[in-house]
Symmetry: C2
Subunit: 384 residues, 2 copies
């Protein structure tokens, strides 16, 4: 008896999963379409849909007059994306950033929290947990799964700087104090009552560009994150590439003058406004602004800066033969000022010059990628 | 009737394929083991094995006294690797090289043919066809599939320099006249009565190192082919990586002095023996020999040369995070003279220094990779 009822309940769960998966993939569906897609009888499909309606996973969305049931138009149902939510978090030295979306990937809220570079690791983790809890509270009590605090999230994706291994441990990070060796995924999982996934920020950035950025539909992409530090994210055959220690994309120490491009913009900014202290990234933005205003020295400076980036890029672009190079991070705001000279350089030296495109997600690419990481995980948990 | 007999013959073919696949994967097997593995009745297994014995695909290989049939020890059978052969070919400017193996991958013959750099493309192709026919003839008439000329090969794998697309067309080659734009796979398929596959030589070299070279069991490998030209082969997640145009591994034009390492050894050789004309590769070998003999200037020269290679390698090793770097091609003979300084350099600048190993296949890596390409294809044709 027990064996039999176990089998029956397993079968019911498989049928439910099959119907839910089909609803999720389709715009909408009728009982008949769901029965066919899940290879179940119509009464079974009806029973499963009733259950999904009651639990808030599905909703009615009109009628289909082409398909009729006892002379009446057939009801249509769809997946209720707001049945669940996920949150993506990016961890910076100065800022935490959270983005909340429903299971359909629609962003419903963003949250920011200021932190500081010297913040101890345990305080930074507590701040992350606080931000996720805040995001859960702000989501309101509107949906059926509410009232469980941070546990209401189907998954939490977290992007961090540093080398991250497959278990979400920060193997090495020079940017944040106490971060090296931190079991970040395990620690956050202990503090947040939802599945937590931690991944390296560059891999999330390129994932985001592939999901809803400039690299949608591309398979092989070199993504350059620009800011006060630079690193790469590599998309290989449509998937962010980890490398054998999770350290892919790190530029590290490079020979000669490769990737040492900051002096162009820093020297320029200092010469124009000697009294003003600027970070390298701020100096670059200053040069962009002046170049757009028509200062010929600024134009030359930005060109030299971009050519320096192109020289670094070609050492990776030639061996990897990507179809696209994405300039991401803070300096993506430079737009055509950067992509123009980089494209011209690659056109000159590459057998197959990839298209050079500025990210439109900018620094948000990391949190968007963290959101996608959470969504992928929620999909896996809910529909398989 | 026709429908039914079609189904029966399909079923028989599926059973045959299943049993053949199991025989190929196992050391040996009895009727009972084969019946179980292929999920068929014992009489069916017996009938299929009789057919495979008659056709030369299987052979008896002793008895199993642990398993008995009517009181007698059960017969054991194994796949007859010599039932079929494949050939791998590498195309050089000065030399064609063919390697013949049975379906078990055992090399049974090698063939070389001298050609010349200026050889027109149609003559070079005719020479390839001639070499493959010669290889077929030399294989003798010993096996059941003989007497069909080059058609006796289950597959022919061909490695060529240049950018090769997925259909085996040489999109670009600067090394061989008339090679750019050549439909090499289609042309050779027209002239050789066997399935022909054409692939870029660097991808075959790294495939060979992964199959039976120094990179067995590795997943992420950067392979450097050294010789009068240098290029890379990239193994990513255990598979040679193509890039978006089949141009991965090309170093192309690189900024600064990167990869411009020849002057070290060429200048050295010229200074020691001013009258002797040597190619860059020959100059390197000359320096290796003198270094091994203890000439301190030669030792310094080889160190500088190796460090130059390491500087080029680090631009790829840091972003890709491979577990191993293989030094292949003609200069792999330098062995520890090269790998020592390269390893020391990577240890100094890499977060995760990969192991640096000299290939033992040397220049043969390409033809061995071509053989593996042919074997993989034969497997696909015969067993699926």
């Amino acid at each position: 008896m027990r064996q039999q009822s176990g089998d029956a309940s397993l079968l019911r769960r498989l049928n439910t999963a099959a119907i839910l998966r089909h609803l999720r993939g389709a715009e909408s569906a009728t009982f008949a379409e769901l029965a066919k897609a899940a290879r179940v009888s119509r009464p079974t499909a009806e029973a499963v849909v009733e259950e999904l309606l009651a639990e808030g996973w599905a909703e009615e969305c009109g009628e289909d007059s082409a398909e009729r049931q006892r002379g009446r138009p057939a009801k249509r149902f769809r997946f209720r994306a707001s049945a669940g939510h996920v949150v993506g978090v990016s961890i910076g030295a100065y800022r935490l950033f959270a983005m909340v979306a429903d299971l359909g990937g629609r962003v419903v809220a963003t949250h920011r929290m200021a932190v500081y570079p010297e913040m101890p690791a345990d305080e930074r983790m507590a701040a992350i947990v606080g931000l996720v809890e805040q995001a859960a509270t702000d989501l309101g009590d509107a949906d059926a799964l509410a009232g469980r605090g941070a546990g209401r999230f189907a998954a939490v994706g977290v992007g961090t700087t540093g080398v991250v291994d497959a278990r979400g441990r920060v193997v090495k990070s020079i940017a944040l104090p106490g971060w090296t060796g931190l079991e970040l995924q395990a620690e956050l999982s202990r503090m947040i009552p939802a599945p937590v996934l931690v991944e390296n920020d560059m891999r999330l950035a390129v994932l985001a560009e592939h999901w809803r950025g400039v690299a949608v539909g591309r398979r092989d992409v070199v993504y350059l994150f620009t800011g006060n530090r630079m690193s790469l994210g590599l998309l290989i055959d449509g998937v962010p590439y980890r490398g054998s220690h999770g350290a892919s994309g790190e530029l590290g120490e490079q020979p000669g003058g490769l990737w040492k491009v900051w002096s162009h913009v820093v020297d320029y900014a200092m010469s124009v406004e000697p009294g003003e202290l600027r970070s390298p990234g701020q100096a670059a933005e200053f040069a962009f602004t002046r170049a757009l205003e028509g200062d010929p020295r600024a134009v030359k400076t930005v060109e030299a800066f971009a050519t320096g980036l192109a020289e670094g890029l070609v050492t990776v672009v030639n061996p990897l033969d990507p179809e696209m190079v994405v300039i991401g991070g803070a300096l993506s705001r430079g737009g055509e000022l950067l992509t123009g000279p980089i494209q011209a350089y690659l056109n000159r030296v590459c057998l197959y010059p990839p298209e050079v495109v500025a990210s439109r997600l900018g620094v948000e690419s990391i949190v968007v990628g963290a959101l996608k990481l959470a969504l992928n995980n929620a999909d896996k948990l809910l529909f398989s």
